[in-house]
Structure formats: structure tokens, C-alpha cells
Symmetry: D2
Subunit: 148 residues, 4 copies
Amino acid sequence: MKNNLFKHFVKLRVRNFEVDWQNIVHNSIYLQYFEIGRVEYLKNIGIDVSAKEINNNSRVVVVRNEINYISPARFDESLIVQTRIKFIKNSSFGFEGIITEEKTKRLISDNISIHAWLHQKKDISKRIDDAFRRKVKLFEGKNVDFIS
Amino acid sequence: MKNNLFKHFVKLRVRNFEVDWQNIVHNSIYLQYFEIGRVEYLKNIGIDVSAKEINNNSRVVVVRNEINYISPARFDESLIVQTRIKFIKNSSFGFEGIITEEKTKRLISDNISIHAWLHQKKDISKRIDDAFRRKVKLFEGKNVDFIS
Amino acid sequence: MKNNLFKHFVKLRVRNFEVDWQNIVHNSIYLQYFEIGRVEYLKNIGIDVSAKEINNNSRVVVVRNEINYISPARFDESLIVQTRIKFIKNSSFGFEGIITEEKTKRLISDNISIHAWLHQKKDISKRIDDAFRRKVKLFEGKNVDFIS
Amino acid sequence: MKNNLFKHFVKLRVRNFEVDWQNIVHNSIYLQYFEIGRVEYLKNIGIDVSAKEINNNSRVVVVRNEINYISPARFDESLIVQTRIKFIKNSSFGFEGIITEEKTKRLISDNISIHAWLHQKKDISKRIDDAFRRKVKLFEGKNVDFIS
């Protein structure tokens, strides 16, 4: 993954209850970190991610996560979560994320997540609407692949 | 994945606080479910997974997770988590897991996790010891691939 | 608290990711354990605790928790969570819970939680309905105090 | 609780996975929020809360939590967690915390937590050491009660 493709980041501090008995952040917690990155990314490009929006209009569900744990994060470290949308297909799209530790610049973890756009009431896939596509295009420019 | 390769399972009930605002289990929680499966699997084949063992002898860390979310699990459903060790390399090994809902038989999720064996004090990989290999071999028989 | 007032229990196993860097269960996790006890208690006396029920009819929210941490629970211990409804007022009621470790019989924690019954759409308290009162009375007998 | 006794605060944003099926923050999560407040408070007055310190010198464990849920917090709200040490006894001390929502100024929750100072290896209480007392006194001034 090339760092310079990322235009969005958030900073997070590792909390003591996220650290397990090995004194490192538990492997499930990084999925929360990447999700915080994605939610802030979407807010930043003007997409409503409130429950109301999700419940009345359409649903977006995570269908796959790939995550590599490269260097363990520890209590009180400051993490930089970078997030971008990598591709948009007909009814699914992919986020890419990387986490770096601020002080030591260690690469902590990377993540690809795939998200499917569904009808509100049925588990049937739905074309990702144009407003979403436009907002991502506007923010990412040519870094995002539109596939379909 | 072929169901009939799995010789171990645990049952879990979906708890209300594991369900998010979409009324489905949050994507990070499934990693906890698969980890419960792995811990019970290891206990079952006679491997000590206590913190003491991990801290004094050697460390095992998760280096990668791949997870597919196939059908969302909901509050109070009974989940069957099946677990097996799929391969053992020199200093890493792979678990495979699948989650099925008990009543409807829906396939909920599948997971591949890769684990590295490290020296206790240093972040240097270490050959997986023979006792571990023997116990896995004894349980899995020819279903586990020993690579290298 | 007198143990013999409790007529309901569930068993839980302590999971590795519930244990913190002190090798003991994190203080926030016990609230999840007690909630599991309460949900199973309600199911057991015939009260629907599904999200649908909560969203269409009325809402029950936790308004207070008191919890004592008496002996820390550790990885892989088997916990017995005992639950009872202690009192029912006009629009609120109180649960009492205790957690004991199965093998050593250590008292782990106790909890009092207060729950308020609200109108579905407004944050206004509502009299606890008679069906709920009847079911609790039937199960608890004279051990529950009806106060109003 | 009087707001003006508090000299320390942190800001937190409510994350989507902290919200439950009622679209409000789950009751166990507030304990995490208050703990974040306490950890930042201790760091701020110069007390090391790393795992190493806890494991080599002495242990501090939570022995009681009292928490009131006053107004539910919702997704994406900005919370102000105020924290102070209210009293110090021989081998235990009490934190007080309040959470307010930044925009609406709603009081969300308040908390009293009691913490015991223990010997590193034994579950025996230990007098809180003078360095801790001095640092708290320096920060809180006459707002903290030294009891014993």
C-alpha cells in the first residue's frame, strides 16, 4: 500500500482496556480502529452515517475484512489511522486502511474491508447510488477505481 | 471450506450488547467468536493457553485475519463455531473457522487466521515446538498440512 | 445478600479477551455478565426482550448500577451468575445479581441495577404494565417487593 | 456533585459500535469512558499507569462502581468527561466523574469508583504511598479529603 494515496486520517489513543494479557492491543480492537477511520472519512466527505439514514434509506453491511497485524500497538500510544476508498463496483465498494504509530512511525496494521449496499427491507444488493459515487470521486479523484 | 474437515465445535449465544444499531452482530465481534473457538480447540487438544504459559515460555501472536460475513447473526441466536488447524509451517500456523446458526443452519461467517510463534523476549520468530506439532497431528490426522 | 433468594442462574466462562493487562477480568465486563443474567432471567419468565418488542411497545433503560468487585475473576474460570428481581415500583424496578466462581466458590461480584420503564417515543416514565408484574410475581413469589 | 470542583476533563466522541440496538450507548461502555478520564487524570498529575509500573511495584484494583445514567448519549456526540479524586483513605481512594454532552450541555452520567491499593504479590491492602498522596494534594488542593 502506498501511503501517499491516503488523504484522510484520524488520531486515536490506545486505551488500557483495549490491551490484553499480552500487553498488546487485542486483535479484534483494530477492526474498531479501522471502523472509526471509515466513519470519520464518510462524515468528512459529507455522507450521513447516522442510524436513521441507515434504517430508512438503504443499508450498508461489511461483507469481508482482511487485516494484517504488523507491529503490536501498546497502551497510551498515539495511532494514526489513514483511510481511503479504493474501488467502487456496482453494489459494493472497498475501503483500505493503515495504522501507524505516531512517535516511532511503526506500521501497526493494514486492512481491506468490503462493503455491500443492500435494500432496506430485503437482503438484496442494490446499486450504489450516484450521490455516494460523486462524493467519493470528488474527494479521491483518480485514486478511486470505478469498476462495473 | 468443507464442513466435514472440522472435528471441533463450541456453541455460543448472541448477546444483546454484541448487536449494533443495525440489529446485527457487529463485525468486530465475530473475531471474538472465532477466538473463543480457537482457545477451546487448543484446550481440547491439551495445549495450555494461560497467560502464564504465554509469558514464560513463548508467545503466539495473530498476524493476519481474513473474515467473510455471509449472513448476519442476530440477538439470542445459537451459533456453532467450528475450528480446525489447517496448516503448520516452520514458525507460523493457520486456523480455519466457520460459524453456522444452529436452528436455521445458515452459514454466518468464515475465518482464516494466521498465528506466529515468537521468542518470549524478542520479536523474533521461533520454530513451532514439537509438542505442539504432535498434539495437532494427533487430533487432526491427515487433515493438517505440515509445510517445510 | 442472601444466596437462597435467587432462583435463577446462568453459567459463563471467562474469555481471554475479557481479561486485562492485570490478568483479571476488566471492571466494565462484569456489567456485561450481569446483563446476560438479566436477559436470560427475563426470557425464562416469559418476557420478550427482543429489539422489536423494545422498539414498538415500550422501552426499558438502565438508570443506575452499583457493583462491588470482591474477588477478581480470571481466564477460563466458570462463573455462576445468579439473578433476581428485588423490587418493582410504579415505573422502575430493581435487579440484584451475584457472581460466584464455580470451582472455588469465591464470591466474585455483586450488583444492583435499577431500570426505568419509558414511553416508546418520549423520555417519560410509564407505569410498568401488569403482564410484567404478574410474571415476576409468579416466579419470585413473596421475595419480590411491590412498592408504590 | 458540584461541577466547579473538577479541574480535569477529556473529550470523547461516541463511536457507532458503542451504541446498542436502542441507538444509545450501552450501559457498560460508560465505565470505559470514566476509566479513560481517570487514566488521563493520573497521567496529567504525573502518575505512571503503565502495565510495568502496575506489575512491579503495587497494584491498584477497582473495588466498587456506582453509576447513574441520566440522559443517554448517542452516536457521534462529543462527551466531556470530568474527573477528580474525592477522597484518599489509608489504602483506598475514590474517584468522582461526570459526563456532559458538549453541544446540548446535557448531563449524561455520573460515577463514583473506589480503588484499593494492594501488595504486588498478595491480595493484601497496602497504605497508599506518599508520592501518590502528594501529587493528588498538589493538584486537588483542599478539594480532596484525606481520611484516616
